[in-house]
Homo-oligomer: 200 residues x 2
């Protein structure tokens, strides 16, 4: 099989960030590409009537501890954001805006957003911050600022989130390999074995 | 460090079963023992006001798929039980009854219960079934049948479940290594590294 993997994520999801630092290299070892698809977890939770695991009674403190520990386990820099979670509407819209022009640039932007939020303590909910990050990967600020407010871009993000719900996505990261869905950064070893063996 | 690991589990929890097939060997590689502590997840969920992940909207089908796939990944026989979840009060009481006499026998009984439920399709909620399994590991049926109904045994299970809640346990399996808590069979690689390095 040579189809690309699908990687659904939300920029405010810690385990999505961890997966984002690994998934391309994992796929690449098996000659595969990855399609990155930011979605709004809040929209997914609302559609399903669920809440974030982090907000389940008793789970908040453990969850933060596990984000930090899992990052160390994977060798990924992580400082739990002071403001968490945050709105990722602006970042996701800019992603789709860049994606329409240059896939590779959009990918670099996504890494910048994740690292700015989870390692550098930036407030990536602020449009000014995401525009600055877009500029850093080579995008023209004026064009992106106009683009992110276009109805087609807003609709794209809504449509991607709805498509995720329709595909059964209830959390992030959500990675699809040849029709097989995996939820969570902790499923990366299973994804690797699946890529290696074509299923197990 | 040489303290034993603590392994909280519920006999009806698939990921607890997966962990039960691995945790002793993992600990043994680092010269450690494991204290097994069955608890009632239902009691924990009730105390916290939570519900099983399996019962979250949208998650049921994926969860069962993931139980089966994770078992294959770990090389553990697994047939998802027709009746799931089931009451594990009888099994847990018999466990503590045996544990009072012979730790090793209680451990063998726990394995029998998990395998009967998750591999052989037995209804381990039935006292007759757990008594049969207790006999198979060498316990006297009459003594166990009397023991499991003693107030002290009922109280022991209640106390262990309450102690788990007080210790921050909100799901199973829950494994404590030198004061560090890990939730889920998917944290076994982290537990192994923790044992190896004394923390990371």
């Amino acid at each position: 099989m040579t189809d690309p993997l699908l990687f659904y994520f939300d920029f405010t999801s810690p385990y999505s960030y961890l997966a984002s630092e690994k998934i391309d290299a994992t796929a690449d070892r098996f000659g595969r590409k990855v399609q990155w698809r930011p979605v709004l977890l809040g929209g997914i939770f609302k559609a399903l009537g669920t809440v974030s695991l982090v907000n389940q009674p008793g789970m908040a403190a453990y969850s933060v501890h596990d984000f930090v520990r899992s990052a160390r386990f994977l060798g990924v820099p992580y400082v739990h954001p002071a403001s968490f979670p945050v709105s990722t509407v602006a970042a996701a819209r800019v992603y789709y805006c860049l994606h329409g022009q240059d896939c590779a640039m959009a990918r670099r932007f996504a890494h910048k957003v994740f690292r700015a939020y989870f390692a550098a303590g930036r407030d990536v909910s602020a449009p000014a911050v995401v525009l600055e990050l877009a500029e850093k990967v080579g995008a023209g600020r004026t064009a992106v600022e106009a683009g992110m407010n276009e109805p087609a871009i807003k609709e794209r993000l809504r449509a991607e989130t709805e498509a995720a719900v329709a595909a059964g996505v209830f959390g992030a990261p959500w990675i699809v390999v040849d029709g097989e869905s995996f939820w969570g950064a902790d499923r990366l070893p299973q994804i690797e074995r699946w890529l290696e063996t074509g299923g197990f």
